[in-house]
């Protein structure tokens, strides 16, 4: 074996299982139902600590670290970590013990916005308001570091392969998918649990408000099993879609957004040797320029709009869009393509193409 490349791993990378913890509720079924019925999962936030003029958000119903994971090990756990631990746990449980038979060979790639800004600010606040600047809870210090959610998920579920935290604003879920696919293709693990997570907290609400956003925020996570088609079949899991490719394109002023989406989707289609009319399903992030660009390229696909239902789930958004595409893909023609696109106003457009 030279340089870890035991065999060609470029094709047949499939998504064989997934779980979601979303404003629709716990699990993939709740997510699928919410999406199918077009339920708007935004609720009134009764918390004086969030901005008064944005009091609706898509939050996971009745979720807290303790109610979701129990008393043990959750005393110092923050919300983003608990959402991640719970969602990764749902996938692991769903797949059964075989999934983790060789824990060193299972990777975990988790996307996040900036970890938990709530944890960071709370920790700093304790330091600034205590009698002494070091009157802080040392058990909460790791919560202020961005890889806490991925690392804690690994600890809870004994995932000992490559453990990576990715941040990239709205495109985080797509960047995580891209990174995870490369880990697999490079032979660094046999399967990857990949997804992204976001929390709704007063601090995130305020930062977003000060940054000028007034649309409702959302939270949650979706985590997918990415593995070789043969391994999925051997384990009794059905390939729900094949990951064909991911592509990204930058833009440097607002007017560049639409062209960047166009370029990125055209590059992906070219790489997939596919035509626009092969795209049966598209799940965009919901930016106006993005939608206009996609309308110009695509030929009457099924459109899936997550943001109006879930709120702006930021780092988790593209993973929810991917989950939505998998749900819609259950009834799509075999061999057609699903396209996930994401735009971040800071200058990134990204997409993933999956074959159903």
């Amino acid at each position: 074996m030279v340089n870890g490349f035991a065999y060609d791993r470029s094709g047949d990378l499939v998504i064989s299982a997934w779980a979601a913890l979303s404003p629709f509720g716990v699990g993939a079924d709740a997510f699928a139902d919410g999406l199918r019925f077009g339920s708007v999962a935004l609720t009134e936030i009764e918390d004086e600590q969030v901005p008064a003029d944005v009091r609706t958000a898509g939050v996971i119903p009745d979720f807290s670290p303790r109610t979701s994971l129990g008393r043990r090990g959750t005393r110092s756990m923050d919300r983003v970590t608990a959402i991640a631990v719970k969602t990764v746990g749902m996938v692991v449980e769903q797949c059964g013990p075989g999934l983790m038979a060789a824990p060193d060979r299972v990777g975990l790639t988790l996307g996040t916005g900036s970890g938990s800004v709530q944890s960071v600010i709370d920790f700093s606040r304790d330091s600034l308001t205590g009698d002494r600047p070091y009157d802080v809870d040392p058990a909460r210090f790791p919560n202020t570091v961005m890889n806490k959610a991925a690392a804690e998920s690994a600890i809870w579920h004994h995932v000992r392969g490559p453990n990576t935290t990715i941040a990239g604003e709205n495109a985080t879920g797509l960047l995580s998918l891209s990174y995870a696919a490369r880990l697999f293709r490079s032979g660094r693990c046999d399967r990857v649990l990949v997804g992204s997570v976001e929390e709704y907290t007063p601090q995130r609400a305020w930062l977003s408000w000060h940054a000028g956003f007034r649309a409702p925020l959302g939270e949650g996570a979706a985590v997918f099993v990415l593995e070789h088609r043969d391994d999925a079949a051997d384990s009794g899991r059905t390939a729900q879609a094949t990951l064909v490719c991911t592509r990204f394109h930058a833009f440097h002023e607002p007017a560049g957004c639409g062209p960047a989406v166009t370029q990125c989707v055209q590059n992906a289609l070219r790489q997939a040797e596919a035509r626009p009319e092969d795209v049966a399903i598209v799940a965009p992030s919901g930016n106006d320029d993005e939608l206009a660009a996609l309308q110009d390229i695509l030929h009457d696909p099924q459109w899936l709009h997550c943001r109006p239902l879930l709120g702006d789930t930021s780092a988790a958004s593209a993973s929810f869009q991917l989950a939505a595409a998998l749900v819609a893909g259950r009834t799509a023609a075999k061999g057609t393509l699903a396209l996930i696109t994401s735009v971040d106003p800071s200058g990134t457009a990204g997409c993933a193409l999956l074959r159903l």
């Binding site: 074996m1 030279v2 340089n3 870890g4 060193d104 996040t112 916005g113 900036s114 970890g115 800004v117 960071v120 600010i121 920790f123 700093s124 606040r125 330091s127 600034l128 600047p133 070091y134 802080v136 040392p138 210090f141 790791p142 202020t144 570091v145 961005m146 890889n147 806490k148 991925a150 690392a151 804690e152 600890i155 995932v159 000992r160 392969g161 490559p162 453990n163 990576t164 935290t165 990715i166 941040a167 990239g168 604003e169 985080t172 960047l175 891209s178 490369r182 490079s186 007063p202 601090q203 305020w206 930062l207 000060h210 991911t246 394109h249 930058a250 440097h252 370029q263 800071s346 990134t348």
Partner: protein, 402 residues
Amino acid sequence: MNAPRRVVISGLGVLSSIGLGADAYATGLRTGRNGAKPITSFDTTGFGHGTGTEITDFTAAEWLRRADPATLGRAAQLSAAAARLAVEDAGLPDSALRRRTLVSVGTTDGESQDLDTLAAQQVRRGPEHMDRRLAGRVSAGRLAAGIVHELGLADTEAMTIGTACAAGNYAIGSGVDAIRAGDVDLALCGGVDAMCRKTFTGFYRLGAVAPDTCRPFDRDREGILPGEGAAILVLESLSAARARNARVYAEVLGYGLNCDALSPVAPDKATLAECMRLAQTDAGVRPEDVDFVSAHGTGTRANDLTEANAIREVFDRPPPVVSIKSMLGHTMGAASALSVAAGALAITKGFIPPTINHRHTDPECDVDCVPNVARTASVDVVQNNALAFGGNNCVVILGRCE
């Protein structure tokens, strides 16, 4: 199938407390410069001590050509400026930057100084009174996006990797995989972190911050010195570098990464040893090929003992094991990227950087840490260890490019 493509380092962009730019950095490493000084970026009143390794002579506007410094926090400024330096150091033509690229930047704390400031503003005046400009640029993804804007990249995949104190190695690893796979010919990878009150406070509370001096592998060690820095490397396929007659510092022979899944903070010897073996296998080198190990070497007892013992598990006769954190402090997400840059310079210039501030090697570590004075040596293979909170390990191996 084709053999995987070889990956080389053809440009270094370094901003550190011991030197700005690759040449100054190399001189700093070679002469054992100490970056420690009193912290000025935040008020250390109330702490028993306040020494760190800040960069005191960096003004973003002097380094950035395209990006507007006001739209970037300090970490993104350092990251974008380091990328600019790297591209200039590599002599990359604009045409190379128009091709498909990967940008991957490791960090522990993201835009941490802005978060420090926003926390202080809230404590003073309430959450409705925060600085809009800071709130709009605080997302960790901006560390990679800042590079994209500075260099005017278009067909690019830009990610920030938040795997804490091993993040620089992770980012370089992601570039290696993208180039080997043939996805890109060019990747800008490394790590960055700005000096941050929050992280100083956390490590101080853990009793892990040294009063004034970082002494890795010393029996009188007192802990880490929190610091800041950035290193962005130009990674290219060997064929692309050769095609443009680029100067090549070193080849990235391979890397390995794993996770102990045991503790949020404590490192694990066996998993770290396994990570070194993964890296050596990926690189196609044997332990006896390694000329020196650039250790994670934070200068805490937990790190130094675990790491030294893991090294002894992998190496029958360990080569020199040095910690450049003795000079640079702990630059968090930048640390392992700065260390890869140091390894590349060591290979090119023929020296092993020293572990400074060294008096008595801890008998429990028992490593040749190249105390205090750099060693002139022909260096062919360097192993660069990195550990992070959460049991995240990543080891990168560099070699002389023949």
